[in-house]
Symmetry: C2
Subunit: 364 residues, 2 copies
């Protein structure tokens, strides 16, 4: 019961809506994560969450469950309800006809088609509206969607695993395995939050990874300026969608026939380096809303160089590698001045058995 | 009052003894840190701690304060009291004559001249003795002393400051300043826990550091295989004790006259690399019980290579440097196989403003 929770009533029920929303993490793309709770007399009488694009919205699901009991009740939803026809009819209409008397939301929809409009419509129909409840949490929950709507680009998370002294490999260049099985499992779990995994061709050729995620068909993106990819690699074993970015000058090398349905996008490469911004923009136009960049060092470095990093996951193993030939985790051009380094805000440091995971965001 | 503390009586008062002991951290060398509490009727009636070598022992101080009230009381002390004449008379004699009826100690003295002997003497005099209370904390508190007594070598702590991707410098080789002022102050504070600070000559010539600590005259140790040190460096500004390890073949270059009293120890260097074990052994014979190794990368690497590391402090700045020319924090020979990496147990991760500090111990 919220009365014993020490929280305000609105925060208590919004927390429930947020907890529902996150259940579908990694499954709603290109839609946001939304949870809804119908409350009456201090009790949840119905609830719902958006499970997948094309499936009912959270509000619709909760109101359907509530039925006539919704009359006079309060609706909690972590994102402003829609007022436009998408794949499903607008939620505001359903809220109005349900008899709901108060709507509490965390954040307005960053989608310019909606932003604040639903609030106005609801108020016009004499429904009390409160916004901004647990807004920080709600924005973080939908950080992918916010980035998409505001910048029309995919959200970019980068991940790397390193020793405590920042090494990706030992002094013979071997990277299997710096971190423990526990850490590697956790990394795979993170992968499935995102639409696509992205790696450079060197990583593909050297480590021959599968780049799969348990229970999800990942889009796999390969940056391959010199078009060296081959059909017999593990990434092709299980797949639905592979996109290879190849250097423009390989346009006439029609390798993609052999790549069994993988899409090849030819792009200008300067000294073998693509424009990361161009790549992200091409991916967004293909409805890829989020990218999980897994390496190697060179590819990671290029994302930092281009300042195209929205979130950073660092898996750190509790060991020292040392030496002169062990690769560092992030290469690229790098910064020539400490004061121009890519600054981060540490969000949290979690222990993962003998290793730990640092989650960080770029400093604004 | 211990009755409200939720702890057992013995743990409660031992905690007080430990809290007293740590007050003299960095000041008692070559002696251990010891605190003592005299308890009667559930109250502290007297207390003391060892402040400096040559000054009274903790037990002596507490018993002196207690005077006649010590009769029938209980003495808490984090280390087994001494039973031999050192610079001060043996504490067991004082305990026996004081009328103390029970002695609680955390750990037996690792010094073979004492180990368990005082316990026997006390029991022979019908004093009840309990050992092992908060033994883990007590051993950690005196980790330097335990290392000294058991291995006849200084305790070696290494410290480095790096970016999140393990870089010591930017891509132009500049290391000022990766971490924030808060972190650098914290590092200076750590320095004064130890008897000596040790750096390689490259760091001295490149960064020209002072290597001082607030409120303490540090011994400064320089590893200088090619004897390149000069008198006009900042390390010579304030000093009491500087030891320079120079390559054996420079024995006839009598530079030390110009080094104004600094001691020069000539040692064999193989390809410009000293034996770290020899260096530590030489330092121990000069009553240096603990060394704080501050770099640079090459020197740090050599300590890891030689497995002469007892504790690791990593200051990590929340930034990414990237690139190919930025130095890594630990060099040396390094490990050629991930499975042979220098494994650590993370003790704690502390936030220091925007940076953080990882404290770790070698995995046993």
């Amino acid at each position: 019961m919220w009365r014993d929770s020490g929280k305000s009533k609105d925060e208590f029920f919004m927390q429930k809506a947020l907890a529902l929303a996150i259940k579908a993490q990694g499954k709603t793309s290109p839609n946001p994560l939304v949870g809804a709770v119908v409350e009456k007399g201090g009790r949840v009488i119905a609830q719902g969450f958006h499970k997948k694009a094309g499936m009912p919205h959270a509000e619709a699901e909760a109101l359907k469950e509530a039925g006539r009991k919704a009359r006079g009740a309060c609706l909690y939803v972590n994102l402003e309800p829609c007022c436009h026809f998408g794949r499903t009819p607008p939620c505001v209409d359903k809220i109005i006809s349900s008899g709901i008397k108060r709507v509490v939301m965390s954040v307005l929809d960053p989608n310019p088609l909606v932003y604040g409009r639903s609030v106005k419509i609801l108020r016009k129909h004499n429904i009390e509206v409160r916004t901004g409840v647990l807004a920080g949490q709600a924005k973080k929950l939908n950080e992918v969607f916010f980035k998409n709507m505001r910048r029309h680009l995919p959200f970019t998370a980068v991940k790397f695993a390193q020793s405590l002294d920042g090494r990706l490999t030992d002094n013979r260049g071997n990277s299997k395995w710096i971190t423990s099985l526990t850490a590697r499992r956790s990394a795979k779990h993170l992968r499935q939050i995102y639409d696509a995994v992205l790696v450079g061709i060197n990583t593909v050729l050297k480590d021959n990874p599968h780049l799969d995620a348990p229970g999800k068909v990942m889009s796999k993106i390969i940056l391959d300026p010199h078009f060296r990819i081959e059909r017999n690699l593990n990434i092709f074993r299980k797949y639905r969608k592979i996109i290879v970015f190849a250097g423009e000058k390989y346009k006439n090398v029609r390798k993609e026939k052999k790549l069994a349905g993988a899409e090849v996008i030819y792009l200008k490469a300067k000294n073998g380096i693509f424009s990361i911004k161009q790549i992200l923009s091409r991916l967004y136009s293909r409805q890829i809303t989020s990218v999980f960049v897994e390496g190697g060092a060179e590819t990671l470095g290029r994302f930092f160089d281009a300042e195209c990093v929205d979130k950073v996951y660092i898996f750190a193993a509790s060991k020292i590698i040392g030496g002169k030939n062990a690769l560092c985790s992030v290469a690229g051009r790098g910064v020539s001045d400490v004061n121009k380094a890519f600054d981060l805000n540490i969000e949290k440091v979690e222990s993962l058995g003998r290793d730990f995971l640092i989650t960080a965001y770029p400093k604004k």
